[in-house]
Subunit: 224 residues, 2 copies
C-alpha cells in the first residue's frame, strides 16, 4: 500500500526541533494492553522515524512485559508531551515486534541498524540481568570496555516499529482476543493522531483515509 | 477494608516536592482501554491525594473519550515521569468516575470540593464547547468574569479517583467485558506500583497484599 508523509509528522518534527535543548523531549509514554486485559503505560525513548516512513522506532528489551503485551495485542498509543512548548501528540498504531528470531531478513537488518545506531552505553543494558526480576544485590556490572563495538545485536535487543498508517489484524490464538477481533473493525475508520497545543489552545485531529490502496490524512480543527 | 499509607506514596510525595519548581511535574499520562479494545493515552493533571488516602484525584470533562473508556472498563495505569530527577512511577488501579449524576451524596461532596479547589480559569473550560468536536471557528469564549465564583460544579465537571488499593469487578453488560472478568482475576494478585530511578539506576516494585481485610504493601528491589 502506498504511503505519503503524514501532515502530523511535520508538526511533530517541528516540535522535536523546538524542544531539542531538552533531553527528555525525546521521551514519550507508550500505552499497551496486558494479557490480563489491563492497561499498561511506561516511558520509552524515540529512536527516530524509519527512513522516510511514518513508522516510529523504539528500542526495548525483549524480556520486558511490553513484549508480552504486544505479542498478545499488537496495538499501542503514544502520548508525547513537550514540556516547553506545551504541545501533546497522541499517536496510535499497530506495533511490529522485531527480535532476533524474526524470519524476515529485511526486518533483521533494520534491527541490526537500530542496534548500531544506539550508543555503546545503551547497548550494554541488554547484557544486564533480566529487567523486573528481583535484584541480587551488587552484581558486577559488565564494563563498557567488555562490549565489542562491532558485535551485532544482543539476544535481548528488540526493535519496535509503531506504524500509525497500518492496523494489521493479528492471528487470534484464544477466544478473548478472537472476540476483540470483531470489536477492532470499528477502529479501522478511527485511527488518528491528536495534536493539542496548550499555549495557543488549538487542537487538530488527523484522520487516516484509505482510498485506491493509498493512505492519506485529513486534518480537522476540533475543540480543545 | 482498612488501608494504610502506602510506602510508594511517600516516595511520590518526595519526588513532587523535589520537582515542584517545574509546572509540568504535576502532569502525568493516564492509559485506559477504549470500548473498541484499543489502548488510549493522554496527559492529565494531578489534583492531589484524596484526604489521607492513597487515591489519586484527576479532574476531567465528562464529554471526553476517557469517560466512555472508564465506563466500559474502569481500570487505568498512570505513568509519571519526573524530568528533573529522572524518576518514573507506574501506578495502576481502579478508577471511580464521579459526575453530577452520582447517587452517592458523599461522592457528590468530593466532586464539589474538587470543583472549588480548582482555579476559576480551569473551571471555565467546562462551560466551553464539546471537547473533540469540530471547532466552529472563533466562538465567543466565556469571559472569566461571567463565572460566578460561588456557583457549584458545571454539568460537564467530573472527578476521577484512581485507587491503587482497590480493584473492583464491575458489572459486565456484554460478552466482551464478561470474558475479561475471568481474565482479571489474575490481576488481583499483581496490582503494583513500579518505581524507577534513572539516576541511581534503582528500581523498586511495591506489591499490594491483602490479609485479614487489611491492605499492606511489600517492596522489592528489582533489576531496572
Amino acid at each position: 500500500m502506498a504511503t505519503t508523509t503524514a501532515p502530523w509528522k511535520q508538526l511533530l518534527l517541528n516540535s522535536l526541533q523546538a524542544n531539542s535543548h531538552l533531553r527528555h523531549s525525546s521521551y514519550f509514554q507508550l500505552a499497551t494492553i496486558g494479557p490480563n486485559g489491563m492497561p499498561a503505560n511506561r516511558t520509552v525513548v524515540f529512536r527516530g522515524f524509519q527512513d522516510t516512513t511514518n513508522k516510529i522506532q523504539i528500542n526495548t528489551d525483549s524480556r520486558t512485559h511490553k513484549i508480552e503485551d504486544l505479542n498478545h495485542w499488537p496495538f499501542a498509543e503514544i502520548c508525547w508531551y513537550f514540556t516547553d512548548s506545551w504541545e501533546q501528540f497522541r499517536i496510535n498504531g499497530a506495533v511490529d515486534v522485531i527480535d532476533g528470531s524474526n524470519p524476515d531478513s529485511i526486518k533483521l537488518q533494520q534491527r541490526e541498524k537500530a542496534w548500531f545506531d544506539s550508543s555503546p552505553k545503551s547497548r550494554l543494558q541488554y547484557l544486564g540481568p533480566n529487567p523486573g526480576l528481583p535484584s541480587l544485590g551488587d552484581q558486577p556490572t559488565q564494563a563498557a570496555s567488555s562490549l565489542d563495538p562491532s558485535a551485532g545485536p544482543a539476544a535481548a535487543f528488540c526493535l519496535l516499529l509503531l506504524d500509525p498508517d497500518q492496523v494489521q489484524v493479528p492471528f487470534f490464538s484464544n477466544i478473548y482476543t478472537f472476540i476483540r477481533s470483531f470489536v477492532i473493525v470499528v477502529v479501522f475508520c478511527c485511527s488518528q493522531v491528536d495534536y493539542l497545543n496548550l499555549k495557543s489552545n488549538e487542537r487538530i485531529t488527523f484522520s487516516k483515509k484509505i482510498a485506491n490502496e493509498e493512505i492519506s490524512w485529513n486534518s480537522e480543527k476540533v475543540n480543545p
